[in-house]
């Protein structure tokens, strides 16, 4: 059982790392999520594997280690907050930069018609956006 567990963690890490090295934001976030699954399982494994031993006093003879569980529980919730933040950052980056590249500069080598249209729209909208931001009276956001 331990072997299967370790193999699963290794496979998830591999996929997570590979996806994190991609150039578009969405696969990177997918990779980040996979990696945080792997990390959570890895941390959980530091309490070793126990079957039928939920860490409830009086529940069974041999209890699972509760400490890694408590740590992983908060890690899951924080991980959600992080995923959410990165996702919104990706949306924001696309809206400000006009592409979904991690580096924010090169456009993808091949673009579908839809993406072409989107890029056009982005340019148009960012011009509008810029014009609006240039008016000092309505410029509430600090120029970045």
């Amino acid at each position: 059982m331990e072997f299967i567990f370790a193999v699963s963690v290794g496979v998830m890490t591999t996929a997570g790392i590979y996806l994190m090295l991609r150039a578009q934001t969405f696969p990177v976030i997918l990779g980040l999520t996979l990696l945080s699954y792997a990390v959570n399982l890895f941390l959980f494994a530091s309490g070793r594997l126990t079957v039928n031993g939920a860490a409830i006093v009086g529940h069974s003879e041999q209890l699972a280690d509760p400490l890694p569980q408590a740590l992983v529980l908060t890690a899951i919730v924080i991980g959600f907050a992080m995923t959410a933040f990165v996702l919104i950052l990706a949306i924001r980056a696309r809206s400000d930069l006009g592409n979904d590249q991690v580096d924010g500069r090169e456009l993808p080598p091949e673009r579908s018609a839809l993406e072409e249209a989107l890029a056009n729209r982005v340019e148009k909208l960012s011009a509008v956006h810029k014009a609006r931001n240039d008016k000092p009276a309505r410029n509430k956001r600090k120029p970045s």
Binding site: T14, L41, A55, I91, P108
Partner: protein, 931 residues
């Protein structure tokens, strides 16, 4: 306590000149002199105590937790240096009053000078190694400020920078050495370290300590090959040169050598390194000094040479040589300070320092000329002057050396040669400036300086004579106690007399003087010879090195970070791989002895599913929706794994987070491109990335397997035992979260709140591009909120809320708790958003999610603060059991209030994120200020 005053008085004095800057030049000078004079009085009052071989100490706690304390001691060596620092300091203050012109900011100069004085006093008085280092660095900084005092001159700025770089670099080396010494001896208390010389010399770190330590001392004392900064520091005003760069600061390096002499000296390595460096410095300095046309340049190189001489003495390794070193420290400070002051007077009154123009000044300033010539004779080692005595001691010490084995006769020979050059450059100083024809094109007609500008020179020259004629009477006690402090034991027999009879040292002195005369008379030939060589200006070499260093570092930085996040990520992962794989090579057996669980076919099937789903996510990551669905399968199996391996709380949390995450991904997908290009990079890059990822995965998998098959070493038994009696709950995981590690949880929900706020801010005023069709070109369905979904979700809402309340209440004893209940409530509400839309929800549930987060955090914090009211520590919980008819026995715990705070924060954060992102799809765009 009086030791403390010596340091404190000048420290207070730093402010005086600046505060009373408007008082006029003379009052400011008096005011500046006040505190050092008082400190000198305190010091002299301590003289009888120090001379009777007791060491006044002072210590006060500073950072007791780190074992740091302010600790000072005034032993013989510290006394000697304090005397030099305060005495010469006072003379320099008087001299500077007349030296600085009306245009200079004199109060600021005086403040810097006193700042330096404090730093230097700190170095010599400190008896804690780290404290010593701190003051050591302060001397470098104050020296920088003083050299660059005329900051409008390029020379001054460059010289200051060079001095700071070289001495600062040495200071870091010194810090490393002191830390190693502290590591080896286990103490940073100087007095203890000095008694542990044996331990240090036998430690395996000895050579590292010695190398770093000498680097610190040699850079400070301008020893070859670090001597180049000192001549460039001469761009400073002359009082600074006289004070810092001849009498005191450059002596800090030799002070350090003398200070640690009992702890580090006594080995072959010390003798070879210190004596050879000293010898090389002495010769190089003396040789170059002869060719300098600049008056201060000559004195600077002669200072380098004399510092080399002192270092050589400390490196010879005999006790008498150490005594001679201490003696020469005194003598050199006295005659060199007076020479610099004389040079400053000449510069001041004639307008130049160029010895090719300065000739025959005897006629114009006979009194100053006499003083300068007496001091220069002392520098040359002429009998009846103090310089003669210590040079005589050097010669006699070099005679009985055996460090270099059969070649030991080199040492006295080279010492005599150095002596001859010293005589030659001293002669040049005297003859070239005061005689040798008439002055050429001087900017001003030279004349005698103001009366009081000459007083400091007179005082010092009189000292030269007195020490030279009555050595035992003048400095006998001082030398004896200082030498005793250096040697940490008995001082050998020596006699301070002018006349020791006809002997070898006297012959060497005579040879040196004769040789010097010959050299000087034949100087034309020497100058012609020297002209054959291209002169390398240290400044350009140094500037070039700095430029090359900057260029190199810039290239390295650009290689590491060329602005591509993708590349940085790759390098980072590569580094992590190298670091984490390393220890695995040392692991012999992957499999440990911990009993393993038998394989279960259901688990095997789930693992298979997990691996397949992972690869689907990877393979079809360009088809984003497919990848997302596969990802949700992975998440689901992870939560099943938690459930199977006895972690019901984790399973519940993972499951509910999974729902929220996937919903968020779906929403995000709407705003992001629907597809990625099939191959986003070149094939080679993909292969490279996958190989690194696979290596990383295999390393992590191996570590995981190795860990799982080894027996655990856990602290959890404490939590399990105390969960019920101490925390009042049987669900240990929940009790850990809200009680044992409650402070961590408070931090974590704060992070959650901050992340939600960050997202809220990111979403504000964002322009989003909504596709009107999906990736295949189909338009969105017109029916945005299916009727069936709306009805079902509406009827499910009360049920879901009930479940979450149940999960919350039982959390302390059964799987559940604030995190999970919060997520369930959030999901129930999000379901309403999905089914009915944002506008519909906003009408019915006008809740401010920001307020929800804030109140959640507030409740959690207050529940923790509440325990203060009962005199307990932050977040101490209270619980008791009550009985109500119908309900029965139940438990109330303050931890539940805390858990409620967690619950509210989780709901607030989750909904703030999702509801605001969802709102972007509607006309209700988020504006700053609205929710």
């Amino acid at each position: 306590m009086s030791v403390f005053w010596i340091l404190l008085l000048p420290l207070v004095g730093i402010l005086l000149p600046v505060l009373f800057a408007r008082a006029g030049r003379t009052p400011v000078a008096w005011l500046t002199a006040l505190t050092p004079a008082l400190a000198l009085a305190v010091l002299l009052q301590q003289a009888p105590v120090v001379f009777s071989h007791t060491v006044p100490v002072y210590s006060a706690p500073w950072v007791p937790l780190l074992g740091l304390e302010l600790s000072l001691h005034l032993d013989g060596l510290a006394f000697l240096f304090c005397l030099l620092i305060l005495g010469i300091g006072l003379l320099v203050i008087l001299y500077a009053r007349y030296y600085l012109s009306d245009r200079d900011n004199m109060p600021l100069f005086y403040s810097y000078l006193l700042f330096f004085m404090v730093a230097m006093l700190g170095v010599v008085l400190s008896s804690n190694l780290l404290q010593l280092w701190l003051f050591w660095e302060l001397t470098s900084i104050s020296s920088f400020l003083l050299i660059s005092f005329w900051w409008h001159q390029t020379e001054a700025r460059k010289g200051a920078r060079m001095a700071l770089t070289v001495t600062g670099f040495g200071g870091l080396a010194l810090l490393a050495a002191l830390l190693l010494i502290g590591h080896v001896t286990g103490t940073y208390e100087l007095r203890e370290v000095l008694t542990m010389g044996e331990v240090l010399r036998n430690s395996e770190y000895y050579y590292a300590i010695l190398a770093l330590f000498l680097l610190g001392a040699f850079t400070k004392s301008a020893q070859f090959p670090f001597h180049f900064w000192l001549p460039h520091a001469m761009a400073a005003p002359t009082p600074v040169s006289a004070y810092l760069h001849s009498a005191t600061m450059v002596k800090a390096g030799v002070f350090l050598l003398a200070r640690f002499y009992p702890a580090l000296a006594g080995t072959e390595a010390w003798f070879v390194a210190v004596s050879l460096t000293g010898m090389a410095t002495m010769l190089v300095g003396a040789y170059i000094a002869l060719f300098k046309h600049d008056l201060k340049g000559l004195l600077a190189y002669s200072t380098v040479s004399h510092l080399g001489l002192i270092t050589l003495l400390l490196g010879l390794g005999t006790d008498l040589a150490a005594v001679a070193a201490v003696f020469h420290i005194i003598n050199h400070a006295v005659f060199k300070a007076s020479l610099f002051m004389a040079a400053g007077i000449i510069d001041h009154e004639s307008g130049t320092r160029d010895m090719r123009k300065l000739n025959g000044l005897w006629k114009y300033m006979p009194w100053t000329a006499t003083l300068a010539m007496v001091a220069a004779s002392s520098m040359a080692g002429v009998p009846l002057l103090n310089g003669f005595l210590s040079k005589e001691m050097l010669f006699s010490e070099t005679l009985d050396q055996s460090t270099l084995g059969a070649l030991s006769w080199w040492i006295p020979l080279l010492a005599t040669a150095g002596g001859a050059f010293a005589v030659a450059y001293s002669l040049r100083f005297m003859h070239d400036v005061f005689f040798n024809g008439e002055p050429i094109n001087l900017p001003r007609t030279p004349h005698e300086p103001p009366r009081y500008m000459r007083v400091p020179v007179e005082v010092l020259v009189v000292l030269c004579l007195l020490v030279g004629i009555f050595p035992q009477f003048m400095v006998g006690d001082l030398l004896n106690t200082a030498s005793m402090a250096v040697l940490q034991g008995t001082v050998p027999q020596y006699s301070l007399a002018v006349w020791h009879g006809f002997n070898f040292p006297l012959l060497m002195s005579a040879l040196a003087i004769a040789g010097g005369l010959t050299l000087y008379i034949n100087r034309r030939h020497l100058f012609d010879f020297q002209m054959l060589f291209v002169e390398h200006d240290a400044k350009y070499v140094f500037d070039n090195m700095v430029k090359r260093l900057i260029a190199g570092v810039t290239r390295l930085h650009q290689w590491l970070d060329d602005g591509s996040l993708q590349r940085s990520m790759f390098l980072l992962i590569l580094l992590a791989l190298l670091v984490s794989a390393g220890p695995l090579f040392a692991l012999v057996n992957t499999v440990g002895s911990h009993p393993q669980l038998p394989i279960n076919w259901v688990v095997g099937f789930c693992a298979m599913m997990l691996i397949i789903a992972t690869f689907v996510t990877l393979w079809w990551s360009h088809l984003r929706l497919v990848a997302l669905i596969a990802l949700s399968v992975v998440g689901l199996i992870v939560s099943i794994a938690f459930a199977y391996f006895s972690a019901p709380d984790l399973a519940l949390t993972q499951l509910s987070v999974e729902v929220v995450t996937i919903l968020l991904f779906l929403l995000a997908l709407f705003f992001l491109p629907q597809k990625s290009p099939t191959l986003d990079s070149k094939l080679t890059i993909i292969v490279r990335d996958f190989s690194v990822a696979a290596l990383f995965g295999s390393v992590i998998g191996t570590v995981c397997y190795a860990m799982l098959t080894r027996s655990p070493d856990t602290i959890s038994d404490f939590f399990v035992e105390n969960s019920k009696p101490g925390g009042g709950g049987t669900n240990v995981v929940n009790v850990i979260l809200v009680d044992f590690r409650g402070f961590d949880t408070l931090g974590e929900i704060t992070v959650l709140g901050i992340a939600a706020l960050g997202i809220y801010k990111l979403l504000a005023q964002m322009l989003v591009y909504m596709p009107s069709a999906d990736s295949k070109g189909f338009r969105w369905s017109k029916e945005r909120h299916p009727f069936l979904l709306a009805v079902v979700s509406q009827s499910l809402l009360p049920l879901a809320l009930l479940v979450s309340a149940y999960i919350f209440l039982r959390g302390h004893n059964m799987p559940g708790g604030g995190f999970i209940a919060g997520l369930i409530t959030a999901i129930a509400l999000i379901q309403q958003y999905v089914a009915h839309g944002v506008e519909w929800m906003k009408e019915r549930m006008p809740i401010n999610y920001l307020g929800l987060i804030a109140s959640g955090l507030l409740i959690a914090t207050l529940s923790g603060l509440g325990s203060w009211a009962f005199g307990r520590n932050f977040l101490t919980t209270w619980f008791d059991y009550f009985y109500l008819p119908l309900v029965g026995k139940f438990e109330l715990a303050s931890a539940m209030v805390f858990d409620f705070g967690v619950y509210l924060t989780v709901i607030g954060a989750t909904l703030l994120i999702l509801a605001n992102l969802g709102k972007l799809t509607t006309s209700e765009r988020l504006k700053v200020g609205s929710n």
